[in-house]
């Protein structure tokens, strides 16, 4: 087991390095850097001026070396210009160049400064990830129990009416991506002119114009059911269908096993059989699915945060990408990639724990 975890961690580290390099390479392509020079320096720079700006700010040289610099595995760039002023990646505005450290990269905790938010990347990341953390927590709390319940209810009696109704529901939701269900939910529940809200307002059941709020910006400070319900519902809906179908498949398979029949023949009630004998064995496959669902959740988070204007991780990623904020985008990518890799690792290890039949050498 330990050897397996260590080997997996090794592969994970290599993967993370390769992926961050790819992101670094793609965000630091010459056209992006040129755009950066023009936005940070001046729009009317000549090509020669752009080239010298890039050189003065440490963006020239081999991409491998710059990547190592960014990581903190190579010494940061230091340039002394003709006026005798020494600047460098690791030298702050007022610091004495002689005292500055040689290495300053991601390893040393220096993730750079965002050009859009004018704050350090770590600060912006922390803030936005906290916001997204609440969103994901709420989604998980809604999605997992609902999905498991639907899956178990549908799978315990295959082909019954309950099964058909619930299966149709889960197929429909898994065919509805977030940008579709978000639009439909807003129109139904959060529009003053269409859907439920005008009816409810007319009957005097709600004080405001709409039932739910169409944006989640206010949830940044104060989460309520009415401003958080739609974003959470939108993400959860897409995931519910998929997890429920996996749970159903697993449940139907377990229900055909010999030991279930034996238990039934011994006279154990159907409820007892489902709860005591079937449920635990049927939960192994959905666990993996739920863990692997996290990366897709990230997708949903980006869409929903854009749609509902919730300033979390996804919104920040979109803003950074749209504004050529290279350092911010790099930081966000590191977080996203590590997030995906860790969930994959947990799902592998958890699978072994849950299923004693699997042995890993």
């Amino acid at each position: 087991m330990l050897a397996f975890v260590i080997r997996r961690l090794g592969v994970m580290l290599v993967t993370a390095l390769v992926l961050t390099f790819v992101v670094f390479f793609l965000t630091n392509l010459p056209p992006n850097l040129e755009k950066l020079a023009r936005s940070e320096g001046s729009v009317r720079m000549t090509d020669a001026a752009v080239a010298s700006w890039l050189e003065e700010h440490g963006h020239s040289g081999s991409v491998f070396f710059r990547y190592a610099e960014w990581l903190g595995a190579a010494p940061g760039w230091v340039i002394t210009d003709e006026k005798g002023v020494t600047r460098g990646k690791c030298i702050g505005q007022r610091d004495d160049p002689a005292l500055a450290p040689r290495y300053c990269g991601v390893f040393q905790g220096n993730w750079g400064v965002s050009t859009v938010f004018k704050k350090t990347v770590l600060f912006s990341l922390g803030k936005s990830m906290a916001a997204t953390g609440w969103l994901m927590l709420a989604v998980m709390l809604v999605m997992v129990p609902v999905a498991l319940l639907i899956g178990v209810l549908a799978g315990m009696r295959e082909g019954s009416r309950t099964d058909r109704v619930l299966s149709t529901f889960s197929i429909t939701t898994s065919a509805t991506p977030e940008y579709v269900s978000g639009v439909i939910l807003v129109v139904l529940l959060a529009s003053p002119s269409t859907g439920l809200s005008p009816l409810l307002a007319e009957w005097g059941w709600i004080g405001s114009k709409t039932l739910f709020m169409g944006t989640a910006t206010s949830a940044m400070d104060n989460i309520t059911f009415w401003n958080f319900g739609l974003p959470v519902g939108t993400i959860a809906l897409y995931g519910v269908g998929y997890i429920a179908r996996m749970t159903r498949a697993s449940m139907t398979e377990v229900m055909t096993q010999q030991y279930i029949r034996t238990a039934r023949l011994k006279g154990v009630g159907f409820r007892q059989v489902v709860l005591r004998h079937a449920l635990r064995n049927a939960m192994i496959a959905p666990f993996t699915v739920i863990m692997l669902q996290f990366p897709y959740l990230l997708n949903g988070v980006v869409i929903v945060e854009t749609l509902f204007n919730y300033k979390g991780f996804g919104w920040m990623l979109v803003t950074a990408a749209g504004n050529n904020d290279i350092e911010m985008l790099l930081g966000a990518s590191v977080v996203a990639v590590i997030f995906v890799l860790v969930t994959q690792l947990i799902s592998d290890i958890g699978y072994v724990f849950l299923n004693p039949r699997i042995r890993l050498g």
Partner: protein, 400 residues
């Protein structure tokens, strides 16, 4: 006035339409689709027993509904020019977001009189844009999925069958791509800057060569004992394949038949790139399962070569799960394309594809819902149809 109203007795020219009238007129507009659907279903039911797996579809109600939904959009895409009421890019009048059923200002002779499903913020007809959007989606999604499958199969077969270092290397690469959050990858790969660096062309050059290689190996492994046949098939593949390859990957087709807009190429390559590793993993898993079967051992004993066994013994026996996944994956690709459009990546702003129409419509969503809801429902129904079809196919293929 009533004698001047050409086709619809229940609707006055100068008045907005009621919902019943809107649906009535829409149903009429879709007439080529209804005819095509009726013919397809009549023929399919008539010859159901002679059509193999396709015929078996018509035993399952789920599959029938799914197939009907999918074919509805396929025929809509085919007959888009006959169905749509306006040019999807034309701006009709100066009123923003006209409501469904509103009268088109200054309806000239021979022009359609109403916005059937309203207009968008530039007063373009939502109905026509939805219909034209179907054509865009149904060209790109199946094509990209097919390419992803060819790439995934060509790499997955040897990875599963030969195993060893090859498998380790290819699996590592596949896992690399899979560990990338899709949206991040899109934001990095589908940008105007990337297009200038030529990375999409390089990716296309690699990815598009694989299908050509697939068919060459396919025919070579089967017919290498009879050179005449082999030369014919491989020759045809090479001529057609490299001709298309030159046009699609490098936009350098000497005859100008094959070609892809650089925007579209970028989107296409990214979608193939995202999908291929998943297909690779599925194929690899199936091959590892099948290669321990007796008929594979029999083939090896007969002295058949590796590629022959992979392509002509294993692949046909893996078709069931692959066909099911193909249906699901077209749906997933449709969702991905919608996501790209939703973020405004890689498509021209006036493009009528569903994702970017939803994106354009969502800004005024709570005031005027129709410009976003119509393409949203269209996309949902197509993906739902594909999912139902896949479900039905899976059930029917498990029956025997």
């Amino acid at each position: 006035m009533s004698s001047l109203i050409p086709e619809s007795g229940w609707a006055d020219m100068s008045e907005p339409l009621s919902w019943a009238a809107i649906f009535g007129l829409m149903a009429k507009q879709f007439w080529p689709v209804w005819v095509a659907l009726a013919v397809t279903f009549a023929l399919s039911f008539r010859f159901k027993r002679r059509l193999g797996l396709y015929g078996k579809l018509f035993d399952s109600p789920v599959a029938i509904i799914g197939f009907a939904l999918v074919m509805f959009w396929v025929f809509t895409a085919l007959f888009a020019n006959m169905i749509m009421t306006f040019d999807p890019l034309a701006q009709l009048g100066s009123v923003k977001n006209p409501l469904p059923g509103a009268v088109v200002p200054e309806g000239a002779e021979g022009q359609y009189k109403w916005f059937l499903l309203g207009g968008d913020h530039l007063a373009r007809d939502v109905f026509s844009r939805m219909v034209m959007g179907a054509r865009q989606v149904l060209i790109i999604a199946p094509a990209a999925t097919t390419f992803a499958f060819l790439v995934g199969i060509t790499l997955g077969l040897p990875a599963g069958y030969i195993g060893g270092r090859l498998d380790t290397g290819l699996s590592f690469l596949a896992n690399l791509v899979l560990a990338f959050p899709v949206i991040l990858l899109f934001y990095l790969l589908v940008t105007p800057e990337i297009r200038n660096t030529g990375i999409p062309v390089v990716l296309a050059a690699v990815l598009f060569l694989i299908p050509v290689a697939f068919f060459v190996i396919l025919f070579q492994s089967r017919f290498h004992t009879s050179p005449n046949k082999r030369n014919l098939y491989v020759g045809i593949t090479l001529v057609l394949g490299l001709w298309a390859y030159s046009g699609l990957a490098f936009n350098a087709d000497p005859l100008g038949v094959w070609g892809m807009d650089p925007n579209l190429l970028n989107v296409f390559v990214s979608v193939v790139f995202v999908n291929a590793p998943t297909v690779f993993r599925i194929v690899r898993g199936i091959v590892m399962d099948i290669k321990s079967r007796d008929y594979v051992a029999a083939g090896q004993t007969r002295g058949e070569k590796g590629w022959y066994i992979m392509l002509w013994e294993i692949l046909p026996n893996a078709r069931g799960p692959l066909i099911v996944d193909y249906c699901l994956r077209i749906g997933y690709t449709t969702i991905l394309l919608g996501t790209l459009g939703f973020f405004g990546l890689g498509v021209t702003p006036e493009s009528p594809d569903w994702g970017s129409t939803i994106n354009a419509g969502r800004k005024l969503l709570s005031m005027v819902p129709h410009p976003a809801v119509v393409p949203a429902l269209a996309l949902m129904s197509l993906v739902l149809g594909l999912n139902l079809l896949a479900d039905g196919l899976r059930e029917e293929s498990l029956k025997d």
